[in-house]
Every structure is written in C-alpha cells, then in structure tokens.
Amino acid sequence: MEPNLQVLREGDLDHGFAGLVRSYPGAGKILGCIQCGTCTGSCQLAQDMDYTPRRIIEMVRAGLKDEVLSSKAIWYCASCYSCTVRCPKDIKVTEVMYALRALSLRRRRSRSVGLSPVFYSTFSRLVNTLGKMYEAGLIVLVALRSNPFRLVKLAPVGGRMFFQGKLGLLPKRVAGRAEIQKMLAKTAALQAEALEARRSPGGGGVIDAAGDAGAHDGARLHGRAIPGSLETGVLP
C-alpha cells in the first residue's frame, strides 16, 4: 500500500533518536532549535538538498530516523560552518551533520546517496592505516570502490595536477602507526562503553529500537566485508 504522506503515526517515530544524536560531540543543543531557518538561509548547498538543514534538525527531534539517515541532504553539507556561526540558538548544525553521516554509515542507510559515503569512509580508512592522506591513492580507491568509470572522469584533473607536480604517486606513512591504532581502538572502546551506559536502565537516554550495534562490530560497505569498524578500520 502507498504510504499516506500526510499522516504521521507515533509508531513511525523513533523517540530515542534525538537522544542518540545529542550524545554526539557538539550536537547537544538541538532541542533548543526555534526553526528559524537561518541555517538553511546561510547554506550554499541547501538548494541541492532533499531536506533543508532546518528540516533535518526537526526530523531528528521528531524521530524520523530512517528518513534522516537515508537523506541526501547530510551528504551535501560541505562543512562550511556558516549555519553554525549564525544559528541564533548556538546549535552546531555542522557537527549534527557529521553525527548523522556517521550514524548513516554505521546503519548502512547511505547506499542510494552516491559517492560520498565511499569517499569519506575510504579517506578515513586510508588515514587510519597510513596516518596521512594519500591523494592519488584516495582517488583510485574511491573509484574502484564505487564505479571505476569515475577514474576516467577524474583523469583530466588528475593529469593537470600531475603535470604541475601536484599529485604525489607514493604514499607517505606515519612512524607512530601502531600508536594511532591503539588510540583509535581505545576511542572505539570508550564509545561503546558510553553507549552501553546509555542503553542500560538508568543510563539516561532511551535507545532506539534497532540498537546501535554498528559501533564496534564489523561493518560492511557495498557488499564488501571490512574488518574492524568503519571508524577504526584499516584497509585490508
């Protein structure tokens, strides 16, 4: 049956979702949003989004979890912080966007929104592995992980940059890679702990029905199993 878009039943809403989002760094103040739209008005990307930043905040508060996490909007945010500096209620919309992308990746809700999830997770895993960014590698990996034809499209820009000496072809590594791995593992463990505390009775927050298992078990991206989580994962 076609869903009736005019009707929103309580059962469609996840009342723990706002609490979950608020537990992310910088996202604590979303309950204070007065829906003024300053964020959207300030956003250069809003015109490409399926939901405006203001609506995203409201959808989070209302508990429209699936719609938010599978929205395109969160992947169009360029992290320019215009919304954040202007929000009259000191809501860090940019940080909320980060949180939503992270949740979307974790819940694997981001399949139909194009290249962005692959890009970000690949970037993240490259850095987690090497300690440093490796631009040429990033482009190649992203292309391979999404659509190899991307490579062809990127070739002219890559070529121009290469001939200006601007595209290093060899990766650089950080000596303290093991140290970084330990830090990331600890971060993941602490986050899992905090989540467990929230979920346990008296932990304060209501947790959404689906749980938040992705935080520390193996995640999967586009059919490929990746050891470790998306956050702490290293490249196979």
Binding site: P25, W75, K132, E135, K186, T187
Partner: protein, 295 residues
C-alpha cells in the same frame, strides 16, 4: 618567533607550492617553523563524517606532539597551520578538549592509550594570523621591495579560516588578508563572497554542486576586474584552479583567473625569486600576473 609547524597532508603533496612559498617568506619575516615530528593527518572534514569523536582524537595527537616539543622553551607552544582545514580541525579538537568535559575525558584516555598526554595549553594559529598579528603589518611593509602596484587582487578567505569560531577575525567579513594585500601594494577589490565556501571535498563527491560554488566565486572576482584570486587554503586553491576548466565546461564560461597563495604574492612583493615561491605551478597560468607586475 618560533612555531611548531603543522604542514598537513596537502602541503606535502598537491599544495607543495604553498609550502615552498611559506618556507621562502617565513625567514624574511623572522618566523621560524619547526615541523612537528611524525605528525598525522588532521582528518579534514572527512573523518568527522565517519566518526566525529575519533577525528578529534586524531587531531589531538598532533597537539600532544606539539606540546611535547620545546620550540618555545618554557612558554606555551603555538602551532602554525597553513591549511585552513588543518587549522579548523586542530582548533576543533582543542576546543572540545578545553570546553567539553566528556570529550576531554575521552580524548585524554585515547591519547594515553597511545602513550601521549595533552595539557591543553597549546595554541593553534593560522599562518595568516601569525603574519598579520604576530609579525605585524608594519614589519611586512618594511620588507616590500616590489610593491604589487596595479595588481587587482580578490582576497578569498574561504570558510574554515574564520569559522566556526572566527577566532582571529570576523566570521563573516574578515579583513586580515585585505589589509595584508594592501600593505603589499596591491589594489584589493572588495570581495563580498570572500568567506563563501569553495565546496571543499564536495568537488570529489558532488561535483556539480561544487562547480556552482566556484563559478559564483569566479564570477564575482572577474566581474570586479580582479587579476588574481589570493587564497589561504590548499583546498580553495585546488578547487578554483584545477577545476576552473570544469567550471568553464559546465557553465559555458571562459574564466582564466589565476589563483595564487597569499604567500606567493608576499614573496613576489618581497622580491624573492619566483622559483623559490613555486610561482607558475598553477593549472591556470600565472603569466598574466607576472606580466602585470613586470616580473
């Protein structure tokens, strides 16, 4: 003036011209940059999108490394970052560490797991801030040997150098770069979109949107008659420069707007050799700029 230098990944690859020009002008200004040993990637805006907390930990490791150096003797260490994204991400981590008790605890424990500690006394500054505020425009002026007379420059700050905090200049209409360029003798065009976003990493993921943002910038700069756009961030440089022909293709425009790092323009004004400044390494030729300056 000694700083713990955090170059960031871009300056070591795609933005090597930025690093080279920075290295060329800093000694002139009396700024000593001591590269932080074994620094790691700041995470840019990508890692927060995957794990907002881990990204702060990654950035914080660099701050811990910086604090451990003795660049400033007994005094608090100041990190110098040239890339706006690095600057913003290091600041973000530092602010979380200083202002958010939960994050402070978490970052502290994570760093400890890798054998590092952070006191939080470190400061983070962008290279532009260091030049304008620590060195001072008077000192810069004294170094100008070949004023950029007649060169019309659009001062482009981008977003992350003034946001989210707007720590050293206004978040909406900053003036530091305008004032610096004026001291170099350039004719600074009033650039209303000076803090609009270039799209950053969206150029890779949402190219159409990012091209629109860059077209908007190129339009204002060229309609105001600018000869060159001065930038303070590798990402801005890459998007405006390397993707300019993509903009032209998509919009049927014919921009040929050189995009140069402010450090390169400073070097030229100081009369430094353009090879030392890696001038000419733009996708859009810098020749017109040099010609205007009679170099």
């Amino acid at each position: 003036m000694r700083y713990a230098y955090y170059p960031g990944c871009s300056l070591k690859s795609s933005a090597y011209d930025y690093e080279r020009s920075t290295r060329a002008i800093c000694p002139e200004l009396g700024v000593e940059l001591e590269e932080i040993h074994d620094w790691n990637c700041c995470g840019a805006t990508a890692i927060p999108s995957v794990d907002p907390t881990a990204s702060a930990v990654l950035a914080a490791r660099n701050l811990a490394l910086a604090e451990a150096t003795d660049v400033n003797g007994a005094e608090a260490v100041t990190v110098a970052a040239a890339c706006s994204s690095c600057y913003a991400m290091l600041t973000r981590a530092l602010n979380y560490y200083r202002e958010d008790p939960a994050m402070r605890g978490l970052i502290g424990q994570a760093l400890a797991a890798g054998g590092r500690t952070l006191a939080g006394t470190v400061k983070v500054k962008h290279l532009l801030e260091i030049i304008v505020n620590d060195v001072g425009l008077e000192a810069v002026k004294a170094l100008v040997r070949k004023p950029l007379s007649g060169l019309k420059v659009a001062p482009y700050y981008g977003c992350l150098i003034v946001r989210p905090k707007g720590a050293f200049d206004d978040a909406e209409q900053p003036m530091a770069l305008d004032r610096l360029l004026a001291v170099l003798g350039a004719q600074v065009v009033p650039f209303e979109r000076k803090t609009k976003c270039c799209g950053g990493a969206l150029m890779t993921t949402k190219e159409k949107s990012a091209l629109r943002l860059n077209e908007d910038l190129l339009h204002e700069a060229s309609s105001k008659g600018a000869d060159v756009i001065a930038v303070v961030c590798p990402m801005c440089q890459m998007n405006l420069d390397a993707y300019q022909s993509n903009v032209n293709t998509a919009y049927g425009t014919h921009y040929r707007m050189p995009v140069m790092y402010f450090t390169q323009l400073m070097g030229l004004a100081f009369g430094l050799n353009e090879r030392r400044l890696a001038v000419g390494k733009g996708t859009v030729s810098h020749a017109a700029v040099l010609k205007r300056m009679g170099v």
